[in-house]
């Protein structure tokens, strides 16, 4: 199964996010690697995903889970070799699966040779590759991202006796994009991977590339100019590849990163994610509709990427203080679950392992406008370990079966990069791929069928959305439309059975066909369409004029 030629493939994709380290260990060293990942590609193909987003796998001191890159053109020795990566890439492509890799443009590790040179002397040619200052008073008022660990965006370098700028950890100095040589060096890095065959980049922390005095040093016009230049070169030399923006901003601010279709191909919709969780807990559709109604239109060739959980904390940056307090009280009662401005938990534990709510949220994810991202392990309802520190609790080994180390590795358990989840509820003995493959009603098989339906209709990936706003606020109903396809989605956000009357006058005469069982429902007529839904139940109806 070869890759289909379609430059807009990212709009129709279902993406699976994983870290090589966490997925499968082929050489019994306790750390996942590319050879192991390659072995598991059949599983991912069977799941129905069409793209993999890999977290950083570059050589790194791993003080920020690989986002502190020490060499942009190689593979961390724990994960294998560059050849292993190439084999993996080819194997993925042969299964029709594209690969998106991380590219951290904003900063490097302080162990990167560029920074080592830069700090070595004030006269070094690479001195201006980073943002240096004699004082720590510049760019006052710029927010600190990691408030739990950092007290300033400036760090003192005892070697060159000056301060360097860092928006993230102090061991991650920011590159200086006012220096054209930096841009060219970064482009060379991107070309390196594009020539190997990767299909796209997730550009980390793009809002912070350029600094200007008197601003928040975020979303500056100069940053957009950098992105536009990368996109221009990409379109000319590597058509069909894509750029995904990580900009944890309000949609109106992220909108600028699409430009006129000449910047990013895609960007995460960060504010939607916590509001999906909020809506289910509140049993009220208000948070979801509120944020989507304030989401601006994007260019035809652009796409939002949406997700429920990922490798980071469930970020609560894009919510009000009241909403953040509510989320903490409802989803992170134990303060250990909180980190920075977010919640470090996986989907299943946040839902108290309630299968109905897990399904509802995945149903929302797959039917909302945008490209869905499934975080590894969430398709089987993996648990987390909030006592591992930082965000490592949601980065534990993938649970393949009930054998040693959950089938992740044959190393001694003590040697694993992190302990497998082994508690009574989410432990690998109970929650694993093998067991769920054998169970007809498992979450895994349900996820497969969900993704299969999603992949069969382009309306989910490219269609417009129109909310129906029935009087019952516990029900979220919307119509997706694309070319000849029309789909009605009705979600009961509450813990109790609900009746709802839908105003479908516009679709009078259409016959709704339930998309999972392919059952016909009564034709839409003049009257409001009455539906009853069980707790957390949802329907996807294909509307056909028959």
């Amino acid at each position: 199964m070869a890759l289909q030629r379609d430059n807009l493939w990212y709009k129709d994709a279902v993406i699976y996010q994983l870290h090589v380290r966490t997925f499968c260990d082929s050489n019994a060293d306790g750390i996942g690697d590319f050879a192991g990942l390659t072995r598991r590609l059949d599983y991912l193909q069977g799941l129905g995903i069409t793209a993999i987003w890999l977290l950083p796998f570059y050589p790194s001191p791993l003080r920020d889970d690989g986002y502190d890159i020490a060499d942009y053109t190689s593979v961390h020795s724990s994960y294998g070799t560059l050849d292993d990566f190439k084999i993996f890439l080819e194997a993925a492509h042969s299964r029709g699966i594209r690969v998106i890799i991380e590219m951290v443009l904003n900063h490097t590790s302080d162990q990167h040779p560029w920074f080592k040179e830069s700090r070595s002397s004030h006269d070094n040619p690479k001195r201006e590759w980073y943002v240096w200052s004699e004082t720590d008073t510049g760019y006052q008022g710029v927010p600190i991202v990691f408030v739990d660990t950092e007290t300033s965006n400036w760090a003192w370098d005892p070697l060159s006796k000056s301060y360097y700028w860092h928006r993230f950890f102090s061991h991650q100095p920011d590159l200086n994009y006012d220096n054209p040589a930096v841009f060219e060096a970064v482009w060379e890095v991107m070309k390196f991977w594009l020539d190997i065959g990767v299909d796209g980049f997730r550009l980390d922390a793009v809002a912070f590339l350029v600094e200007r005095e008197g601003t928040l040093c975020e979303n500056l016009p100069e940053t957009h100019a950098v992105i536009r230049e990368i996109r221009k070169r990409l379109d000319i030399s590597y058509p069909g590849t894509m750029l995904l923006a990580e900009a944890n901003q309000w949609p109106a601010d992220v909108r600028a990163y699409f430009g006129d279709g000449d910047e990013f191909h895609a960007a995460f919709h960060f504010p939607l994610m916590p509001r999906m969780f909020m809506a289910v807990k509140l049993e009220d559709r208000k948070p979801i509709i509120e944020i989507l109604e304030q989401t601006p239109e994007i260019p035809e060739n652009a796409q939002w990427f949406i997700f429920l959980r990922n490798h980071d904390e469930l970020t609560l940056e894009m919510v009000t203080d009241i909403e953040r307090d509510y989320m903490y009280d409802e989803y992170a009662t134990d303060k250990t679950m909180r980190i920075n401005r977010g919640i470090r938990r996986r989907l299943a534990p946040m839902m108290n392992n309630d299968r109905r709510r897990i399904e509802l949220l995945n149903g929302l994810l797959m039917s909302m406008p945008g490209t869905p991202i499934v975080y590894y392990g969430d398709e089987i309802g993996m648990g987390d370990n909030i006592y591992l520190g930082d965000r490592n609790g949601v980065r534990t080994p993938m649970q393949w079966n009930s054998s040693l180390n959950a089938g992740f590795s044959s190393a001694d358990p003590e040697r694993l990069y992190a302990p497998v989840i082994s508690n009574a509820v989410y432990g690998f003995q109970a929650v694993n791929v093998d067991a769920q493959t054998r169970s007809e009603h498992s979450l895994l098989l349900w996820m497969k069928s969900l993704i299969k339906v999603r992949n069969a209709f382009r309306v989910f990936s490219r269609g417009t959305i129109q909310f129906l706003n029935p009087s019952n606020h516990r029900v979220l109903a919307y119509v997706r439309q694309f070319e000849g396809e029309t789909v009605l989605v009705v979600n009961n956000l509450s813990n109790s059975a609900q009746a709802v009357e839908l105003d479908v006058q516009r679709y009078k005469g259409y016959v709704p066909i339930e998309m999972f069982g392919r059952n016909l429902f009564p034709r839409f007529g003049n009257l409001p369409y009455l539906l009853t839904l069980g707790p957390y139940q949802f329907y996807w109806f294909q509307l056909r004029r028959l």
């Binding site: 109106a252 208000k286 009000t320 606020h473």
Partner: protein, 259 residues
């Protein structure tokens, strides 16, 4: 439980869409076309400011076409999304519901209260308040009436006002001493047009077979207060500040008469 035929189908449909609530506020739109908008706004502000997490509903007892025309009383399950999330501020997390019980002619106060109590019972409201559609209604007063019932499990919350010495002479000099002597309960404002109560008291009153009595239909507020006191339910007073009087015709008010 409400009588089978008491509530109109339209109101029942609205209540079905609202579902269970924590707080319910009843307000009558009778003769208040000029001030109802302010009152509703004050109630919603109170919800947004003091009860951001609670499930809330406003039950408007309307009185026919005149109310419909001004457009304010249309039932809605969705608050207009006017908030800009880029400017975080005080807001409600949930939908603030409005439901309207529409009568062809202005209903007597007892009928209006009966409707509010039935709604409170059906929606299993934990705390309720009945408020006048007054132009000077303020969000903190609404909260003051609801909080004792919601947070402290009081069943009846009477208002307490700072009054001019010639204001409320009847209440102060006759009704208060009399009710205190009879019931042993020091509630100063038994005859008020605003008060709070619990869902429990709402159910208790709703199930009394008194709603056809003329006296109850005309002035149900004191009856409800006395029902709470006589049933040994928990009663309290909440200070609402200065009691403002609606403008009156000169000479028709006892205060004016005594000046």
């Amino acid at each position: 439980m409400a009588e089978d035929t008491f509530l109109a189908d339209d109101l029942l449909r609205q209540l079905m869409n609202v579902g269970e609530v924590d707080l319910l506020v009843g307000v009558s739109s009778r003769d208040a076309a000029d001030t109802i908008a302010h009152a509703l706004s004050a109630i919603e502000q109170s919800f947004q400011q003091y009860f951001v997490r609670q499930r809330v509903v406003i039950v408007i007892v309307g009185s026919g076409d005149k109310d419909k025309k001004n457009g304010l009383l249309e039932a809605t399950s969705s608050t207009p999304f006017t908030r800009n999330p880029r400017q975080p501020g005080i807001t409600s997390l949930r939908t603030i519901h409005r439901v309207t019980a529409d009568f062809s002619t202005p209903p007597p106060p007892g009928v209006a209260l009966h409707t509010v109590l039935a709604a409170a019972d059906l929606l299993r409201a934990r705390a309720c308040a009945v408020l006048p559609p007054a132009a000077n209604l303020n969000p903190s007063a609404v909260a003051s009436l609801l909080k004792p019932a919601y947070h402290e499990n009081f069943d009846f919350v009477a208002p307490l006002y700072k009054r001019h010495k010639f204001q409320g002479l009847l209440a102060r000099n006759l009704l208060y001493p009399m009710s205190r002597a009879v019931f042993g309960c020091a509630i100063r404002e038994l005859y008020s047009d605003e008060w709070g109560f619990s869902g429990r008291l709402a159910s208790l009153c709703l199930n009394q077979d008194v709603w056809q009595e003329q006296a109850i239909r005309a002035r149900p507020e004191a009856w409800m207060a006395i029902s709470a006191i006589a049933s040994d339910l928990r009663c309290c007073q909440t200070y609402l500040g200065e009691k403002s009087q609606p403008p009156t015709v000169a000479g028709s008010d006892i205060v004016d008469a005594l000046r």
